[in-house]
């Protein structure tokens, strides 16, 4: 998958779009749709992943239904609008494509438009409120959404593996459903209601937009809070600076590489952020003056995390972090989750690094402890993740 859209593809698409648009849709319709695409691509909608989508899929949906599935309007106007909108981005930010990467949204719209227009061509008759047409529309929208998630996962990222990016992109389905449904509502009601179709489609859209915005803001705040809580032992000099956040980011990447789902990844991230919060107990002189073991720290951490009822699964995970993968002469404990092993391995790796070791030295320590202290499969996956990040040589 290319990191950038080749300029030749943009230029060819632009020319083909102009020729087709002017040939098949003379008059103002084609330029208006192009202008609409450009404007829509600058109106963001919040999404759970935090990456956001623009209004462009909604416009593509409304145009597809309103033009009876005309591929010229959906795809041709998009091909003309894409380089123009990129040009505007360049004028504004000094570069043609944000972060030098292929945007996933146009790919999704292309797949949606191609699927819908292709399916409509196979139908003998077309009515905008025909349930079959709306069914095709929904299927094409789903294909477009999946295509944009696949493209986003294909974008090379040093930190997050492809699977993690794909899982994050899939979490954005509510935004796609709202955009495509509101567009269909507008297209279906316009013939009978004229401009009144706009408030009719606009209000459900606004309701969805506000809800996703509030959800995104709260998610952001929650993540900020968890990070702040994870850093408190560091502020008190009880832990290496940045240990919690580095462990959380790396553990999530390892978990995703191991094929874990979204909920597991969330648990891993929160457990990694808070696994050392029990060190705060060391502020108590009775404890600080005595001796304590790593299992004491995990028990204290689990007790503090467990004070919040909804974090009980995270507390249970943290409570077993001290337990080795397998004790000599014993079978491994099946009750210990793979999630706990991930946090344990990554935390040990980061502690070695924070202690002044190199990534290779830290990996050597983990390899020495593999099969007894650490889960060998997790260690192997950590190595792969570090190789991809360029922290150790392949």
């Amino acid at each position: 998958m290319p990191e950038r859209i080749h300029p030749a593809i943009l230029v060819l698409g632009f020319i083909a779009g102009i020729v087709a648009g002017v040939g098949w849709w003379p008059g103002l319709v084609f330029p208006l749709v192009v202008a609409g695409y450009i404007a829509a691509s600058f109106v963001p909608m919040p999404t759970p992943s935090g990456l956001g989508v623009s209004m462009a899929p909604a416009l593509a949906g409304a145009v597809a239904l309103g033009s009876h599935g005309s591929p010229i309007l959906v795809l041709g106007a998009g091909a003309v609008a894409l380089p123009l909108s990129r040009l505007l981005v360049r004028l504004r930010h000094g570069r043609m494509i944000e972060n030098g990467r292929l945007p996933s949204e146009p790919a999704g719209i292309v797949v949606f438009g191609a699927c819908f227009a292709g399916a409509v061509l196979l139908l003998d008759s077309y009515a905008v409120d025909d349930p079959i047409v709306l069914g095709l529309y929904a299927a094409a929208a789903a294909a477009g959404y999946l295509a944009s998630a696949v493209v986003r996962a294909a974008i090379p990222d040093r930190i997050a593996p492809r699977r993690l990016q794909f899982i994050r992109a899939l979490a954005d389905w509510p935004a796609h459903v709202i955009l495509y449904s509101a567009a269909a509502l507008y297209a279906v009601t316009t013939p009978a209601m004229g401009w009144w179709a706009l408030p009719l489609a606009g209000l459900p859209y606004a309701f969805g937009h506000i809800s996703l915005h509030r959800l995104r803001v709260t998610q952001h705040t929650y993540q900020q809070t968890m990070r702040a809580l994870g850093r408190i032992p560091e502020a008190g000099g009880m832990n290496a600076a940045g240990h919690a956040e580095r462990t959380a980011a790396l553990a999530a990447a390892v978990g995703a590489q191991l094929g874990m789902g979204r909920q597991s990844l969330d648990r891993i991230e929160y457990a990694a952020l808070l696994h050392d919060i029990g060190r705060l107990v060391l502020a108590n002189p009775a404890v600080a003056g005595g001796t304590y073991t790593p299992s004491d720290v995990t028990a204290w951490s689990a007790a503090i995390i467990g004070e919040a009822a909804h974090l009980e699964p995270v507390a249970s995970l943290v409570a077993v972090l001290h337990a080795p993968y397998r004790r000599p002469g014993e079978e491994r404990d099946p009750a210990l989750s793979r999630e706990a092993h991930v946090v344990r391995v990554v935390s040990a790796y980061d502690e070695e690094i924070a202690g002044g070791g190199t990534p290779l030295q830290a990996m050597e320590t983990l390899h020495r402890g593999a099969a007894y202290d650490f889960d060998p499969e997790v260690v192997a996956v950590l190595r792969k993740v570090l190789e991809r990040r360029g922290e150790i040589a392949a």
């Binding site: 409120d129 349930p131 709306l134 509510p174 459903v177 709202i178 449904s181 509101a182 269909a184 509502l185 279906v188 009601t189 009978a192 209601m193 004229g194 009144w196 408030p199 009719l200 209000l203 459900p204 859209y205 309701f207 969805g208 506000i210 809800s211 996703l212 509030r214 959800l215 709260t218 998610q219 952001h220 705040t221 929650y222 900020q224 809070t225 968890m226 702040a228 809580l229 850093r231 408190i232 502020a235 008190g236 000099g237 705060l280 107990v281 060391l282 502020a283 108590n284 002189p285 600080a288 007790a303 503090i304 995390i305 467990g306 004070e307 919040a308 009822a309 909804h310 974090l311």
Partner: protein, 432 residues
């Protein structure tokens, strides 16, 4: 039966009778809604939406049932609109939780207020409904009429709910005006939307309903997730504060007591519910910074030197800065930090900061610490009065008045026992 229960039973009975009388009158004056399966579908939507109101903002709940009511009114037309909606509202009184608890009073109260407010709202909407089939030209009138009728619907509903709450639950705080206004606006918009939606249903057909339903459902899921996450967030911070407090045996219960003193003081000073809520969080967070203070300083059995005091404040500020980086906590941490600034002699401190500082000082004075005994309540009041220039005369007076009004006694019971505890504390400090 207590007088309040008598009053409750009478109120519930009266409202139920009024509701039944309204329905009987509507049966006589209106036609039954037809086709009946369409009414059943709308009634299911109305009840479902009424039971699943969403928190769109802090303590501001909005239900889409108003929208369903006005959509149904347009679909069934003048002849049966009021009866159709009043029957839907009557069904919405049967909440599964009440039925499970075999409670009759709340369903009776809800039945009466829902039927009466729905009837009033749709009666106002009737003149706006076209006499013949709906056309696109009727849309402006329908939208305006539905918005107006929704306002009446909401006004009657609000008046009835307020009347009921005032008489049955006098201890409950009613929503502030800003929230009510936002609620009226949101419900007015939903009503107008319901009117347009009803016309769209008639003009285009039922195909639009799944499209609307899907969009609203996703939006509702978003609001629900937001609401759950917000509670989880508060739960996380609350749990952390509790855990931190448990670390220090001398200050156990301190944050809860300070939060309590701050609340009663702020209530006397007339702070609105939003400021009260912010103050509660600030009180809970005000000592979080001490988790980063080294044990040798936190538990020193003697007064801290200037250098030690500066070091302690430095550690506390490091944690406050961390938490202030969280947007939601920033104003609360600001208040909590302001009370430390007040101790440093700063004069630019908010009212909330001064309330928190006075509440904190009062609790510290009336609690025994590792280096001194608790003073008696009158001594603590005298000490507070002597610091009127620090906390503000209004804050000191309000705090003292609120504690006296509560009838509670804090600190050592008398001077003699305070002196005895002080001797014990000093002896232990010397041994340490």
């Amino acid at each position: 039966m207590k007088p309040n229960q008598h009053r409750g039973a009478f109120l519930a009975g009266t409202l139920a009778v009024l509701g039944v009388a309204t329905l009987v009158a509507l049966f006589l004056l209106q036609e039954l809604p037809e086709p009946i399966w369409v009414w059943v579908a709308f009634a299911a939507a109305f009840v479902g939406l009424e039971f699943s109101s969403v928190e769109v903002s802090d303590r501001l709940y909005v239900s889409g049932s108003r929208m369903a009511a006005f959509t149904a009114a347009v679909v069934f037309g003048r002849g049966s609109a009021v009866l159709a909606v009043a029957l839907m509202a009557a069904l919405a009184a049967l909440h599964p939780d009440d039925l499970r608890q075999r409670s009759w009073r709340r369903p009776a109260v809800n039945f009466g207020q829902l039927v009466l407010s729905a009837t009033a709202g749709i009666l106002v909407f009737l003149p706006f409904l076209p006499t013949a089939a709906v056309t696109a030209e009727d849309l402006p009138l329908l939208a305006v009429g539905a918005a107006l009728a929704a306002a009446v619907y909401d006004w009657v509903n609000f008046r009835l709910v307020r009347f009921i709450v005032r008489h049955l639950y006098p201890e409950r705080t009613l929503l502030p005006w800003s929230k009510l206004l936002a609620s009226h606006i949101a419900l007015g918009v939903l009503g107008a939307f319901g009117g347009i939606l009803g016309a769209a249903y008639v003009l285009v057909g039922p195909v639009i309903l799944p499209l609307i339903f899907v969009t609203f459902l996703v939006g509702q899921m978003g609001f629900r997730s937001y609401s759950q996450l917000r509670r989880a967030h508060e739960d996380t911070i609350g749990g952390f504060v509790k855990a931190v407090e448990a670390l220090d045996p001398y200050t156990r219960g301190h944050t809860e007591r300070v939060a309590g003193f701050a609340r009663v003081t702020a209530e006397r000073l007339g702070l609105d519910p939003e400021r009260l809520e912010r103050l509660r969080w600030a009180a809970l967070l005000h000592d979080v910074g001490k988790v980063a203070v080294p044990a040798r300083l936190l538990h020193k059995p003697d007064t801290l030197t200037d250098d030690e005091y500066r070091e302690t404040l430095g550690h506390m500020r490091a944690v406050e800065d961390l938490l202030a980086g969280v947007e939601f906590l920033s104003p609360m941490v600001g208040i909590a930090a302001a009370h430390h600034a007040l101790l440093d002699g700063s004069t630019e401190v908010s009212l909330e900061g001064r309330i928190l500082a006075a509440a904190d000082a009062f609790d510290a004075m009336t609690s025994t610490r590792s280096y001194r005994a608790a003073v008696t309540q009158p001594t603590a009041f005298d000490l507070l009065r002597s610091r009127r220039d620090v906390y503000g005369g209004d804050v000191v007076d309000a705090l003292i008045a609120a504690i006296e009004a509560s009838g509670e006694q804090y600190g050592s019971p008398d001077e003699e026992s305070a002196a005895a505890v002080e001797r014990l504390v000093r002896e232990r400090a010397i041994r340490a």
